[in-house]
Symmetry: C2
Subunit: 232 residues, 2 copies
């Protein structure tokens, strides 16, 4: 298992920033200055740039020539389209899982939700990430890595969207509903599973209420927490 094959530093910076975005520690619109990031991670701008290019090609950051990068701010139109495609792909996930999912897979799902339940109440970044990772785990259990990759990307983008347009960050992903999804999959009740998932994703309900930007300045303090992230 030592085949670890150390990734480029650029990849590491990319992963850290990605997680910070997923956990809504970096909010949409946050300016991402190359110097500041490089300093936090102890690398040069060259490396930071690599990471930013990666993030841009995943639509998690937006770049303007000579103006640097910001955490992406999807429009409402984009947001709707992203949710639509997420719907579509997660429905495919459900269909595939019901067709064949292993006992081990179901156990993994249970374990994950248990973990979610444990941190419930505490409404921090961990809870947001776990909620997203539940959906990613579902997709991975299909064993189609392409599907899983797209779902993963979409989940992160949705986290971005919810950070922009949802007022209640807390109930974004109720643990109960995750349990219901597992149950429906276990029962091979495709109708129920799809309907729960539909309700669960339920598009973008809230409207923009964070018009006043309380973001922007805290880049340094946020990155400090992500510079030496303990858990993978």
């Amino acid at each position: 298992m030592s085949e670890a094959k150390q990734p480029f530093n650029g990849v590491i910076v990319y992963q850290r920033l990605r997680r910070a975005i997923l956990e809504q520690a970096l909010l949409p619109g946050t300016r991402l200055r190359e110097d500041a990031i490089g300093e936090q991670f102890g690398v040069s701008r060259t490396i930071v740039r690599q990471a930013l290019v990666r993030l841009e090609s995943e639509h998690l950051v937006e770049t303007q020539r000579n103006r640097g990068a910001c955490v992406a701010e999807p429009t409402l139109i984009e947001a709707e389209q992203i949710f639509e495609i997420r719907h579509c792909l997660e429905a495919e996930v459900i269909r595939r899982l019901i067709e064949r999912i292993s006992v081990i897979g179901l156990e993994a799902l249970d374990a994950h939700v248990d973990q979610e339940a444990r941190v419930q109440g505490k409404d921090g970044p961990v809870s947001i990430r776990l909620a997203g990772e539940f959906h990613i785990l579902l997709a991975e259990l299909t064993e189609n890595r392409i599907l899983a990759g797209y779902v993963s990307e979409l989940v992160t983008r949705c986290s971005l969207i919810l950070a922009m347009y949802s007022r209640s960050h807390s109930s974004d992903c109720a643990v109960d509903e995750h349990r219901h999804i597992i149950q429906a999959v276990r029962d091979k009740d495709i109708k129920a599973a799809l309907s729960i998932m539909d309700h669960h994703l339920g598009a973008v309900q809230g409207r923009a209420d964070l018009s006043g930007d309380q973001k922007e300045d805290n880049l340094q303090s946020v990155l400090a927490r992500y510079a030496e992230d303990p858990s993978a």
Copy 2:
């Protein structure tokens, strides 16, 4: 319409390389040395590197630390999974188009196929690209940019796959079948449209027959053609 907003040179190099891959001018496994590419495009390795990072994050090139980049070589497993998801997404495209497609959209499709017919017989890179772009156009007509983006990515990856595993590059995408798809969409015959599309994509039929690599060396000559590509 002068809002053109010049892209980074890195983006340009990326686009050129991407097209070369789509057109199967750069075959899977082809070594992509940074110096060579930079020289052809008249930019420094810094810029080439940006392009390679972009391509890697789209799975069109693979990178090994200290060993540089190659055009990706999807395994048969990956190939199957890619085709599966392409199936899934293109089915969604069909459903959406049948639900509502404009006359203008249908005309655009006709025009495109006419163009395909014009270069038919000549079995060169243009024909391969046009065949792929038909599917991308279909996806774009859904007006869901996310969906279109994923389809576009998948089409390119499939071109890569066919370059590896198909023996008859010619009949990869018959113009006739494209016409049938358009007709079925026009008739709003969803059954027919889906079935034609299914048959059209028909997964990976051929098996690996290009075990001997006749690639590798022609990087320079290939890139020369793509360095100053006339058509966007």
